[in-house]
Symmetry: C2
Subunit: 421 residues, 2 copies
């Protein structure tokens, strides 16, 4: 499978088989999909030792390749991580089936009865990096939503993903569903990604899961729609009417709970009237917590800060670093976020309802928060059970993408020999 032609053939065949499977899956019963996911969970549990052995091969390959400690950690599977894969599969199995749900129905004066019902999208392509658990999460959400899926895992997690994938196929087989409903690209060759991005006949949506490099590549090269966010440049605006304790709690949690996730805060905007008191105490608390603060204006006078430069605005650190500046009013905060934000998640801390309304109305991030940590930007925390990713585009899916967001709809119209005058 070294030459391009054979990879192109392999991918075209995978695409054809996915399209055919998707036609059966579209009307697979809720029970059969649930049974497949429960059986897959049992299989992961039963094959736990094989999965850990496969993961050991990946870890060895990673060490030879000189992967960073963070990458190695993302790659690693142990008993508790396998247990959470099992729980994740069971959680998705237990969710309501979105397919066939009646979204709306109404009668018309013509005598027609019209209903709008959920349908699967068709075939989803998922391209991810080192985390092998995405194999299970993405496979499960696509199956739940009646979509066929083509998984393309990172080359680092090749063996781990294969081992988990084998369990998903066991589940499909146990439930009598087409095995091609979930396919894993069987090669590490990058050319397979290029193919997948341009298979407009057999792929309906691509979901990339990974760093900015991967997502940017997918967004540039895909010829099919993409559900993704390139960056989470998350802002918190401390309004002049902010409650001091809430401000401290929210900013500290939003920045430091986990710095590597897309909902982590990257920039603090402080109303200038409170810069000297609340602004100072929040920044001092951040510094005490080990955060490097790149500050501008009067905030730059606080001991322990580093002066901010133009490159600090609109920057996603994904680390214990935050940018901070003062703004003369809420409109300046809104203007800053419009200019430098990434439409992912932005937050206002205030006790002033009019300020909340203005912030909520005039900004158009996928998620806008009031007095809450931006680390809640997550499908699980939203109550969706699981997510395949978070989308910042405005078309179709937006915000956390769960099973429901992987569906479309069709109109069913019933008459009684009804004709149009």
């Amino acid at each position: 499978m070294k030459d391009l032609e054979s990879i192109s053939d392999v991918m075209a065949d995978i695409g054809r088989r996915a399209r055919i499977a998707s036609q059966t899956l579209a009307f697979a019963s809720a029970d059969s999909k649930r049974a497949a996911l429960m059986a897959a969970a049992d299989a992961v549990s039963a094959h736990r030792d094989e999965i850990i052995a496969a993961n050991a091969r990946d870890l060895e390959f990673g060490r030879e390749k000189g992967l960073s400690a963070a990458m190695m950690d993302r790659l690693m599977l142990d008993g508790s991580r396998i247990e959470s894969i099992v729980e994740g599969l069971r959680a998705v199995a237990g969710q309501d089936d979105p397919v066939g749900q009646v979204l709306a129905e109404w009668d018309r004066p013509s005598g027609l009865h019209i209903s709008r019902v959920r349908t699967p999208l068709g075939v989803i392509g998922v391209i991810y990096e080192s985390r092998p658990n995405v194999t299970a999460d993405a496979g499960a959400l696509c199956l739940k939503s009646g979509n066929a899926v083509i998984l393309r895992g990172g080359s680092e997690s090749f063996h781990s993903s294969q081992a988990i994938y084998a369990c998903l196929v066991e589940g499909l087989r146990a439930a009598g569903l087409p095995e091609d409903a979930i396919q894993l690209v069987p090669t590490r060759d990058r050319a397979a990604v290029t193919e997948l991005l341009t298979m407009t006949d057999s792929v309906d949506v691509i979901v990339p899961r990974g760093g900015k490099g991967l997502v940017g590549l997918v967004q540039r090269e895909a010829r099919v729609p993409v559900f993704a966010h390139l960056e989470g440049i998350v802002h918190i605006y401390l309004d002049k009417a902010a409650d001091p304790q809430k401000a401290l709690d929210v900013v500290l949690n939003a920045k430091t709970r986990r710095t590597g996730i897309c909902g982590a805060a990257e920039c603090l905007l402080v109303h200038e009237e409170i810069a000297e008191d609340l602004g100072r105490s929040v920044i001092e608390a951040l510094i005490d917590a080990g955060v490097e603060v790149h500050a501008e204006g009067s905030l730059a006078g606080i001991d322990g800060t580093t002066p901010a430069t133009e490159t600090d605005w609109g920057r996603e650190y994904l680390d214990m670093v935050i940018a901070a500046r003062t703004v003369p009013d809420i409109d300046a905060a809104i203007a800053h976020i419009r200019r430098y934000g990434s439409n992912h998640t932005d937050c206002i801390v205030t006790e002033d309802e009019a300020a909340v309304a203005r912030f909520f109305e005039r900004l158009d991030s996928a998620i806008l928060m009031h007095n809450a940590s931006t680390q809640f930007a997550d499908g699980g925390e939203f109550g969706m059970g699981a997510e395949i990713g978070i989308a910042t585009g405005k078309m179709h899916a937006r915000g956390p993408v769960g099973a429901e967001q992987l569906t479309s709809f069709k109109y069913l119209v019933r008459g009684n020999g009804t004709v149009r005058p």
Copy 2:
């Protein structure tokens, strides 16, 4: 404005102004949008003579250019057509405002209250052919949904569209809304279309309105999402349990009421068990009504039919012509529609509920009908008030596209200093 560079500059400027206007429009009040549409309706009514004079210049240009009678008819405006433009504007004004509607809201155990509210998409580009009324319809629906719009009318209707457009601007001005909310491309040069299709920074969606040539061009060349249907290859399946009278009524209406619209029937599939009786009488009725029937199998034996060839399947005649064939069972009908259909509108005529369920479940057209004329495939008939087009894609908008379908949503999350453990 002859050289490419200046058109590119003109379009970039239009795009920038649309994007800026869209930010204000996104939170314009329902009242101001309603007032703008009512004032625009009054202006069209008041400037009726100027519009008819402008239209006369277009008609003269059309005659010189040798446009077909059908094209000339689409282009022509008279008192009653202007009256229906006025009524259309008032109808859209009277609809509920979709922006800000709460689509769902729920509480989480974390203490968060999450709501999902409708937002405009941003900037819509509309590219259309000869019908000047699209200027008013598309402008009104985009304004209602809080979107800025860039209109690019056909060169044939250049002066008529300008005159109607002037009335829309009068309405915006009267309501104190930004005039850039609705812009009309001020040149007939085709290069403006090419520009519009690739303005990914300033255009969020393109809606083409016109024939297959225009829509195909837009789908091929657009670098932004497109809401459209290329063809309406509409099928009617007469099941063995069809009621004869309903079959006759539905087929005749679906084929002959208007042959040039996308919901007109193009292919009749007849269960072989009823081919000799009901099939024959439906086809004889079609022939009596002046329809040319391209028939296959036993249906080809009916007097007055022409033998069908392979090119008749999947063909959109948009004329008094229909293809007809027998099928051994409902699954063969479904297979034929999957292979040759265009996912627009397809219909089953039967009294057998199990057959309806199978047809509705196993096909994935945007609109599926039972015992109803396919000519009901229309936003107005669906109760949407008006439509900007019909989409057959599965992403975002599907079926008739009204104001509601021109929106996205955002999540608003309220806490009380809530942090994530």
